[in-house]
Amino acid sequence: MRVGLFITCLVDVMRPEIAEATVRLLESAGCTVEVPMAQTCCGQPGYNSGDTASARDLARKFLVEFERFEHVVLPSGSCGGMIRHHYPVLFADDPDLRVRIEALASRTWELTSFLHDVVGMKSLPGRFEGEVTYHDSCSGLRELGVQAQPRALLALQPGVKLVEMKDARACCGFGGTFAVKYGDISTAIVDEKIERIHASGAPCVVLGDLGCMLNIEGRLRRTGDTTTRVLHVAQVLAGDAVPAPASSKGA
C-alpha cells in the first residue's frame, strides 16, 4: 500500500522523532511510505484565526501534493480534523474541487485510526515498558472519533499498562493561538489536566497531538516536574521512545 506521509509542521520542527516512529509503524504494517518534500502546513492556524483564504490556498496545495496516494497518514488528530472535516467546507462554492477534496479527505487518516481501522495492525515493531495514561486530544476525539483505536493499539504493547485518568477527554487548554492570546486561562486549564495526570499515578502521559504535547510538557517542566514523560502514541507503539531514566518517578 502506497502511503503519503503528511508530517505536520509542528512534528517536522519540534519532534522529528515522532515522524520517524510513524514511518516505522507504517513500514512494519507493510506500507510503502513516501514523503512529498514540498509539504508545509495544513492551514489550520490561519483557518482558526479567521483567515479562510490562506487556508483554502493550503488545502489546494495539499491536494496537488497528495492526490496521487492511495492513503494519506498523519500523526495528528488536529490536522487530520482540519483535512477531513474542514477542507470540504472550504470549497462549498466549487463543486469540482470539492469532489476531489472530499475524495482525498476520505482517504486521509490520523495515524492510529489508519493502523487500527484500515490496516488492522496486530503486532508492533518495537517494545515499550511502563505504565501510561492516555489524553484524548480534542479534534481527534470529537471530529474524527479517535478514542478506541489508540487504546486498542496500546494493548498490543505487552509491556504497557494503561491507567485511565479522570476526564481524559477534557481539553488540555492548548487551542492553538488561544494558548498565547489567553495564556492565563490556558494555563489554568492545563493545570487541571496535569492534576489528573498526576492523580492517575502513571509516570507517562501519551497523546496524539503536538499542540497538547507542547502545552502539557511545557507546563510540567515550568512547575518543576522534570520526570513525568509526555510521549506521542507513535513513539510508544513503535517502541523507539528513549527508555525512561532509572531515577524517574515510578520506574
Binding site: R15, E20, M37, S49, G50, F178, V180, G183, E217, R222
Partner: protein
C-alpha cells in the same frame, strides 16, 4: 444590559485569581456534567430524540413569521394581548406602560434572561414600580446590590453557601444560618408577603406554543406559579420571538431534552403551560395576560450563517461543559449570556466590535457541540465570527501580520524549508542542554507560565532527505 465584554481580559485575570470562585466553579462543572450524563442515559434513544427536536426547531424557524402569527391569533382568541418589540428597550417601555395602565405598584418576577437583555428591573424602578425577584438565585443577586447573573440556569452559581449565609444575615438582619433548608425557609418568609401583595407578575417563557397560544415554563422552585397564577391582576410574559414551537407535540419532544441537558433532571419540579387569562368560572389565573415578544437582533440571524443559533433552548449545557467557562465563570463574558452560546449571541446582538475577545477566547475543543441538545455547531459559529473580525480588520495589526507572514511562507516550499530549518536550529540552541526555552520574544502569553520544549534535533525533512536520497 450594559455591555462589558471589552473588559474580558482584565476580568478573566481577576476571576482566575479568585480562589473561592475557582472552588465554586469546580463543584459546578463536576456536578452538572455528571448529572447530564446520567439523565440522558435514561432516554432509550437520546440521539434520535435529539435529531427529532432539531428538526422540529428548524421547522419552526423556517416558518417563523407564520408560526408567530398563528401564536398571536390563538393567544388573542383566548383573551391575551400580544405585543411586539423590535429592541429590548422598546420591550421594557411596553412592560412599563402595562404596569402604568393597571396602576401597578409592585411586580414579582420569576426568572427571565430576556428581561436581563431588557434591563427590565431598572426601567420599572425608574418608573416607580417596585420589583421583587422571586427565583432564589435571582433574589440573592437582587439583594446583593443587583449583581448580574453568571449562568443562564443557575444565576448565582458563582457564590458559595457561605457567601449567601453572610449576605442573608446582613440583608435580612437575622442570625446567620448555615443549613440550606433553613436559608431557603428564611428567603420564603421574606418573599411570601411580596407574592401576596403583588399587582403584576412577570415571567420568562421557555417556549411559546403556536397552536394553543400558550407559554411553557420550566422551573424548580414553585415561585413561577406564585407570580403568574396566584394573586396578581396581570401576568406579563417576556420572551424572544425565536421561542415559538408549532405544536404541543413539538413541546413534548424538546421537554425531554431541556431539563436533562440543563440540570440533569428527567423533568423540572414544575412545568407549566399557561393559556390566556382567567376565564369566567375558572378558579385561578390573572385577570389580564400579556405577551411581550422581543426581537432584539434575532431576525438578523434568520436566513443567515448564524441561524442555527436560534435553535438554542437555553439549557446551559455548553457552558457547563466548557473548559474556559469552568475557569472564568459567567461574569467575565460581560453581557447577559456567557459561555459558548453567549460568545456567539453577544456579538450577534450587541455588535461584533464590542465583543472582540468572545469568539477568540475558546479552545474550539468542540465539547459544547457534543453536548448541545440542539446540535448547534458552536465551534463553527465561533470560527465564523473570527472570520468576520478578520474581514473587518478588527484584529490587532501584529496578529494579522504574523498570520500573513506564516501563510506567505507556507505557500512557498522553497522559502519555507530553509526558514523552518533555521527556526529549528535557533530554537534548539535556545533550549540548550535542558531542551527547554524559558522565554521567547513575542510569545509572552506562552512563556510567562510554560516552558517551550525545544526542537529535539534537525527537522524530519532534513533527516529524511539524508536517509532516503
Amino acid at each position: 444590559m450594559q455591555v462589558q465584554s471589552m473588559h474580558f481580559k482584565a476580568r478573566s485575570g481577576q476571576k482566575l485569581a479568585d480562589v473561592r470562585l475557582q472552588q465554586n466553579l469546580k463543584i459546578l462543572s463536576q456536578r452538572w456534567t455528571v448529572g447530564r450524563t446520567n439523565a440522558i442515559a435514561e432516554l432509550d434513544d437520546f440521539e434520535g430524540t435529539r435529531d427529532e427536536a432539531v428538526e422540529r426547531r428548524n421547522r419552526a424557524l423556517a416558518n417563523l413569521d407564520a408560526y408567530l402569527e398563528r401564536f398571536e391569533a390563538e393567544a388573542t382568541r383566548r383573551g391575551a394581548t400580544v405585543l411586539w418589540a423590535e429592541t429590548p428597550e422598546e420591550a421594557s417601555r411596553l412592560v412599563v406602560a402595562i404596569a402604568k395602565k393597571h396602576e401597578v405598584a409592585k411586580v414579582t418576577k420569576s426568572k427571565s434572561m430576556v428581561s436581563e437583555e431588557m434591563a427590565l428591573n431598572r426601567h420599572l424602578e425608574a418608573a416607580g414600580v417596585k420589583v421583587v425577584e422571586t427565583d432564589l438565585g435571582e433574589y440573592i443577586l437582587q439583594i446583593n446590590d443587583n449583581e448580574p447573573p453568571s449562568h443562564i440556569v443557575a444565576p448565582v452559581v458563582h457564590k458559595s453557601k457561605d457567601e449567601v449565609s453572610d449576605l442573608f444575615a446582613r440583608v435580612h438582619d437575622r442570625p446567620r444560618l448555615t443549613e440550606i433548608p433553613a436559608m431557603t425557609r428564611e428567603a420564603r418568609e421574606f418573599l411570601r408577603p411580596h407574592f401576596l401583595s403583588s399587582d403584576m407578575g412577570v415571567s420568562g417563557g421557555n417556549f411559546l406554543v403556536a397552536e394553543t397560544g400558550s407559554v411553557a415554563v420550566f422551573t424548580n422552585e414553585g415561585n413561577e406559579g406564585m407570580c403568574t397564577v396566584l394573586p396578581p391582576k396581570v401576568h406579563v410574559v417576556v420572551t424572544g420571538i425565536e421561542k415559538v414551537l408549532p405544536t404541543l407535540e413539538d413541546l413534548a419532544t424538546v421537554a425531554r431534552l431541556l431539563p436533562r441537558s440543563a440540570t440533569g433532571q428527567s423533568i423540572s419540579n414544575y412545568f407549566s403551560i399557561l393559556t390566556g387569562p382567567r376565564a369566567p368560572g375558572e378558579q385561578d389565573g390573572p385577570e389580564h395576560m400579556y405577551f411581550v415578544l422581543v426581537d432584539g437582533g434575532r431576525t438578523g440571524l434568520l436566513g443567515g450563517e448564524f441561524q442555527d443559533m436560534l435553535r438554542c433552548i437555553r439549557c446551559g449545557a455548553c457552558m457547563n461543559h466548557c473548559p474556559v467557562y469552568q475557569k472564568i465563570g459567567g461574569h467575565t463574558y460581560g453581557w447577559v449570556y456567557p459561555g459558548p452560546m453567549g460568545s456567539v449571541l453577544t456579538p450577534a446582538y450587541v455588535g461584533i466590535e464590542k465583543t472582540l475577545d468572545l469568539p477568540q477566547a475558546a479552545t474550539l475543543c468542540g465539547e459544547c457541540h457534543v453536548v448541545c441538545p440542539m446540535k448547534i455547531p458552536l465551534p463553527d459559529l465561533l470560527r465564523k465570527l473570527r472570520e468576520k473580525q478578520m474581514e473587518r480588520g478588527l484584529r490587532p495589526r501584529r496578529e494579522r501580520a504574523g498570520l500573513a507572514a506564516w501563510a506567505f511562507a507556507a505557500k512557498r516550499p522553497g522559502l519555507y524549508r530553509p526558514m523552518v530549518r533555521m527556526a529549528s536550529w535557533v530554537l534548539a540552541r535556545l533550549g540548550g542542554d535542558s531542551g527547554r526555552i524559558g522565554s521567547l520574544p513575542m510569545s509572552g502569553g506562552w512563556t510567562a507560565t510554560r516552558d517551550l520544549p525545544a526542537p529535539s534535533g534537525p527537522t524530519f525533512k532534513e533527516r529524511w532527505a539524508k536517509q532516503r536520497h
